[in-house]
């Protein structure tokens, strides 16, 4: 019995092909634009969270040397820079601090067989690979025995390898000159990128810092490459990001003790970025849902218009159906199901269209490409059904409350 009614609805849609197509088109565009907007937002959020992760994650805190503040200018002479004493003190702050990575940053010129690479070398300990999430692509990372023996070993970032080696050349047993001193290459890192379709480029793409750097044991740098003993920065991995403010406070206190109370350091977290991003995200959500919502409303108006026209044409039919014993509810169900059918058809077409479009756009748009989630499709489709119901209620009620006598007389 239900199918009898659906059947007549499908015939109505087919009988007015252009009119139905125009309404379906509205719904299709509506659903498609909602899904596209949500997918672009999803892509934006995903790219951002990949970037955050590749930069070391939220649980990374960086301490830099800073000028002595004006109020403490008399202590300028005795103010220590970041040093291993700080590292030692920070390491003992357990369990909040998981790892401490001391770093000396150094401008270097690296050469090999006439090829040159200019960039930052980082004197470091194995901790840095954990803190910055760097992995070997070939060979191995720096190990603690490299630090203890202050060996002439170097771990190359992807761009340094690219500049110093021929493509696919093995690093095994190869040496490079760092500021004129030979170093053995023990490994190279993979190329890091944020966007899945991103191509490798000579400037490091979306993560230039991470791709450009080379790593040398801290002890080696201090003995053989620089006369300065001080650290450039200290990176700290903490346990609990929900406690980040308290932990930063505690770290500041520790640093003040080791720095004789002089505040010549700067503590940086990614928290501020995150807070800004949350704001942007909220804006995007509102904008996205408004755009999608408005287009869907337009689709709904299209359906309502079609239904009203269709009912005016079928007033007699409604009269006949009532004379033949249709209840008010039968008439209501007949027309609301026709409206839902239109929106489901339009919604379905919208889903298919958006799947193809997103597939296409993914190939064209490299940065912040859209990401299609299963849940987005579900949201888009349910929106179209809800809209079909809402757009159908008024026309269906209008049909339901027609006076059968008037309806049968209608010319």
């Amino acid at each position: 019995m239900f199918w009898c009614r659906i059947g007549s609805g499908i015939r109505e849609i087919r009988a007015h092909k252009l009119r139905s197509f125009l309404s379906l088109f509205c719904v299709m565009i509506g659903v498609c634009s909602l899904i596209l907007t949500l997918s672009f937002m999803e892509g934006l959020f995903e790219s951002y969270s990949v970037m955050m992760r590749e930069l070391g994650g939220l649980n990374k805190i960086t301490i830099f040397n800073d000028d002595v503040p004006e109020s403490q200018r008399f202590f300028r002479g005795i103010a220590p820079q970041c040093n291993l004493e700080d590292v030692h003190a920070l390491s003992s702050f357990k369990p909040e601090v998981i790892r401490v990575s001391p770093e000396i940053s150094l401008d270097t010129v690296i050469t090999r067989n006439g090829k040159v690479f200019r960039g930052k070398a980082l004197g470091c300990t194995p901790e840095i690979f954990e803190v910055e999430r760097v992995q070997e692509d070939k060979g191995r990372l720096l190990k603690s025995f490299d630090i203890e023996s202050s060996g002439n070993v170097i771990f190359l970032g992807a761009l340094a390898y690219r500049d110093l080696f021929s493509p696919r050349e093995s690093i095994e047993g190869s040496f490079v000159n760092v500021n004129g001193i030979p170093f053995e290459v023990v490994g190279k890192s993979k190329y890091y990128k944020v966007y899945p379709e991103e191509e490798e480029d000579p400037y490091g793409g979306s993560l230039p810092k991470k791709n450009k750097i080379v790593y040398i044991p801290l002890t080696t740098v201090r003995r053989k490459l620089t006369s300065k003993n001080d650290l450039t920065s200290i990176q700290i991995q903490i346990r609990d990001i929900t406690q980040i403010r308290e932990t930063v406070k505690a770290i500041e206190n520790i640093m003040k003790i080791t720095h004789k109370g002089i505040h010549n350091f700067n503590i940086e977290t990614l928290e501020e970025y995150v807070r800004q991003f949350e704001k942007i995200k909220k804006g995007f959500m509102i904008a996205g849902f408004s755009i999608g919502g408005i287009t869907l409303v337009i689709g709904g108006i299209g359906i309502m218009n079609l239904m009203l026209a269709s009912i005016t044409e079928r007033i007699r039919e409604i009269g006949v159906r009532k004379a033949l014993g249709a209840w008010d509810s039968d008439i209501f169900i007949q027309f609301i199901s026709e409206s839902i059918m239109l929106s489901v058809l339009g919604g379905g077409l919208g889903l298919i269209l958006s799947i193809y479009l997103i597939d296409l756009l993914k190939k064209i748009i490299v940065e912040y490409p859209p990401i299609l989630n299963y849940s987005t499709l579900v949201i888009g489709f349910s929106f179209s059904i809800i809209m079909g119901v809402l757009a159908g209620i008024y026309p269906a009620l209008k049909a339901t409350y027609l006076d059968p006598i008037e309806a049968l007389r209608y010319e």
Binding site: M1, C4, R5, S8, R11, E12, A15, R316, E317, G319, V320, R321, K322, A323, L324, G325, A326, W327, D328, D330, P404, I405, L408
Partner: protein
Amino acid sequence: MPLIEFKKVSKIYKMGSERIKALDEVSFLIEEGDSIAIRGSSGSGKSTIMHLLGFLDQPSSGSIQFEGTEFSSLNSRERAVIRSEKIGFVFQSFNLLPRLSVLENTLLPYVYQRHPESKVLERAHTALNKVGMGNRLNHLPNQLSGGQKQRAAIARALLNNPKIILADEPTGNLDSKTAAMILEIFESLHHEGRTIVLVTHDPLVAGHCHRQMIVKDGKIESMELR
């Protein structure tokens, strides 16, 4: 017990501030197996009687009983059930649904049956054969002549095996030759024992019925036997 009894039934329409008395205390009986023509000029009140007989409208005062059931005791759903089970409608303009085939149009009352009977296809075929449309099952209404449309509409009215067939100017849109054929069908249905009510302005058409009820100005002017 009469099939239908009208007791002092009045119907008053309000047109703005004006009150128009379409029916004025009309009383009559229709027995089972009756064949009656309700005749009158336009505006006489015959259509109002027809709508009341078909449970499509409600009286302003008076009592209508169908097989002893008082009209006013029924809600709109129960009235719809009576329309579906006991009354077969035939209209002047046929009122076939344009997108449905002859067979589907005939099956339409089945959609709204609350206690669906079995063998509905068989019954549809029987009804269509009876009116001589058994060979046009899959035609659409716009592929049929006027007479054929009315035959299909009669078959539709017969599907649920109703107690009474209400025909409102069934030959009004047909030429006289076709009209005669349609009236023949009504006569043969009457001979089968069905109750037929024809509403018409045409004395020739009314003459095919057993009784004629002549309506004028909302009142029954006369009741004639053939």
